[in-house]
Symmetry: C2
Subunit: 179 residues, 2 copies
DNA sequence: TTGATTGCAAATCGTTTGCACGAGA
DNA sequence: TCTCGTGCAAACGATTTGCAATCAA
């Protein structure tokens, strides 16, 4: 989960959601099947290794299973979350993203590239924000989302800038046609 | 926006804040009308003074304008955002919330009560998270959302606990009927 | 008056679900 | 074989939009 579920908490013994009870509940009692579709989804998630949206996953997985439908993607994502293989990633304002569960096992957050819209994991963040709370409030967890440019897009942006500057300089030269 | 574009906190002084919604910035170029519906929405937002969802706003504003429809709420919220009177608040999850724009003028974040689902503003947060970024990434802004119990719900929860304990204790007494 | 605004319903958009068919075990 | 899973389409919930009636300026 992106939601950091461990922080300041009242002495209130309460389990919450967590996948603590999964072992007993979700043992392969249901006889889960290994389908091409699910394998394709898994492959995509492993290869990309970053939080992805259902449509993103569909597009990528369609290259492996052309007739794959969006409904199947949603059903599998949900099932894989229940089994503990994936974790839902809730970003401000956007549709749900999903990432490999082991990534969610340790406290981390997300970075969203404002250019390519992709989401990346960010490790760290040992902050405790309980100091910010008004009196009487109790803190259970937090979500932190960073926005900016990923390395790739930042590089491209720089290249564009450089190009623009070059063109500008060129245009400024006396021999060139005046703008 | 809740998105902390923590570049510069523009002092942005508001003179008499009676209802001077349209100062110089929002010159009524479009000839906006003052409708009962919009007034009701504004009144609700001012009174509650916290980020609210469109349905929340509808419910509250219906007490002022009974025949108010959800579409009108959405249209007005959007218009009020464009005019700069309100700011959209994107919380991890999905539904957009709205809050008075002046609240968004300074860097702040949000707290969501996991019990009553209400959202509150949280001031502060002078952190800079750029240290968390991978090489090549650049940070523009961040969103921080805290989760827990608001003062009201925390109190209620304690009351419930106390009550449960009392009942338990009572049930344990020999004279009481066994549960 | 007159055109912006409303209310209602139909239309979207993302996501879920019903159902008959296809495919793992 | 015998279910479970898939694909497709209809259903859904949140938000938007078309349109005739309404109302503020």
């Amino acid at each position: 989960m992106n939601r950091a579920t461990h922080e300041h908490d009242i002495p209130h013994a309460h389990a919450g959601h967590g996948h603590a009870a999964h072992d007993a509940l979700n043992s392969p009692v249901h006889g889960e099947r290994a389908t091409r579709q699910r394998a394709a989804i898994r492959e995509v998630m492993v290869k990309e290794a970053r939080p992805m949206s259902p449509p993103e996953i569909l597009d990528a997985a369609k290259k492996l299973v052309p007739r794959l439908g969006i409904a199947t993607v949603y059903r599998n994502l949900k099932a894989m979350v229940e089994v503990g293989e994936l974790s839902p990633v809730q970003l401000p304002g956007n549709r749900l993203f999903y990432e490999l569960a082991h990534k969610a096992d340790h406290h981390h957050h997300h970075f969203r590239c404002e250019d390519c819209e992709r989401v990346f994991d960010i490790d760290g963040c040992d902050e405790t924000f309980s100091a910010l709370l008004p009196a009487g409030f109790t803190l259970h967890s937090h979500d932190l989302t960073l926005y900016g440019s990923c390395a790739e897009c930042a590089t491209k942006a720089l290249a564009r800038q450089a190009k623009a500057l070059a063109k500008q300089a060129k245009a400024a030269k006396p021999q060139s046609p005046a703008a």
